[in-house]
């Protein structure tokens, strides 16, 4: 019941590797890290959710905040490698049309 947040910095791009669960307890730490990256002018932020096995609406809220931040700072946010269950939440809520989400799993099933 925890979330690890690892950030890899590249030139003009940040990759965020998440592992664990995103809920009311773990979301604040994720939000802080994510917004620190999206607030960098022009930064491309890629969040890898391959190891995220649980997420609820607090996680959706974090990514909505991140998206708003990208609009203010001319940065980009992309979510990649989502598990089916997590991807489904973006579908149900319609956020799939608003946030750049690529569920493709590396290497397929």
């Amino acid at each position: 019941m925890n979330l690890t947040v690892d950030v890899q910095e590249h030139t003009g791009k940040s990759i965020v590797l998440l592992a664990g669960e995103i809920d009311a307890y773990t979301a604040p730490k994720l939000k802080e890290t994510l917004l620190s990256l999206t607030s960098k002018e022009g930064n491309k932020v890629e969040v890898n959710l391959e190891q995220v096995n649980y997420m609820d609406s607090t996680g959706l809220g974090v990514f909505v905040s991140g998206l708003k931040s990208t609009k203010e700072n001319n940065s980009e946010l992309k979510l990649v490698q989502l598990q089916d269950r997590v991807y489904r939440l973006f579908e149900i809520t319609g956020l799939i049309d608003v946030i750049d989400v690529d569920k493709t799993v590396r290497g397929g099933y």
Binding site: M1, D23, T93
Partner: protein, 158 residues
């Protein structure tokens, strides 16, 4: 009167306990024979309801408690989440509860944005009572019939 088992848990209204409730819900649903998919739906829906309560307590700067009740029936799981420390009077809760109406006085639940929307989408039935505090009653049915039908279809095509 339909017989059922009832499990009640009370935790502090703090974010670190949302996961504890989620694990408990998963255990109860697993014991009842829910599918993996349904258990995941239940975990999200119950977490949403508990998170709403936790956020509400936080905004009011209260050291509140959340009470969660699991009604384990033959064909369904009923989950109650209440933002007060008192125990449930099951009959009273059921009498006072009505169907969820999107535009009704549940403003504090809406604060989470997608929380209530997800509960509604993931559970079979959702009812809310906001007379004294907020109580969410949500139901998920065991869909054993569907499995039976699938089995039949497989056997006829062989």
């Amino acid at each position: 009167m339909e017989s059922f088992d009832f499990i009640e848990i009370k935790v502090p209204a703090k974010p670190e306990y949302v996961g504890v409730i989620r694990l408990t819900a998963s255990g109860v649903a697993n014991r009842m024979g829910f599918s993996y998919e349904d258990i995941e739906d239940l975990k999200v829906a119950i977490s949403e309801a508990v998170t709403n309560t936790v956020n509400h307590a936080y905004e009011k700067d209260e050291d509140g408690e959340v009470t969660i009740g699991f009604g384990v029936y033959e064909n369904r799981l009923e989950v109650m989440v209440a933002d007060h420390g008192g125990s449930f009077n099951l009959d009273q809760v059921k009498r006072n509860i009505g169907p969820y109406e999107a535009a009704e006085p549940i403003e504090q639940l809406r604060e989470g944005g997608f929380g209530l929307f997800l509960i509604d989408a993931l559970m079979d039935k959702v009812e809310i009572n906001s007379d004294s505090g907020v109580i969410v009653l949500m139901t998920k049915y065991l869909h054993e019939n569907e499995v039976g039908l699938d089995d039949d279809q497989i056997s006829t095509t062989q």
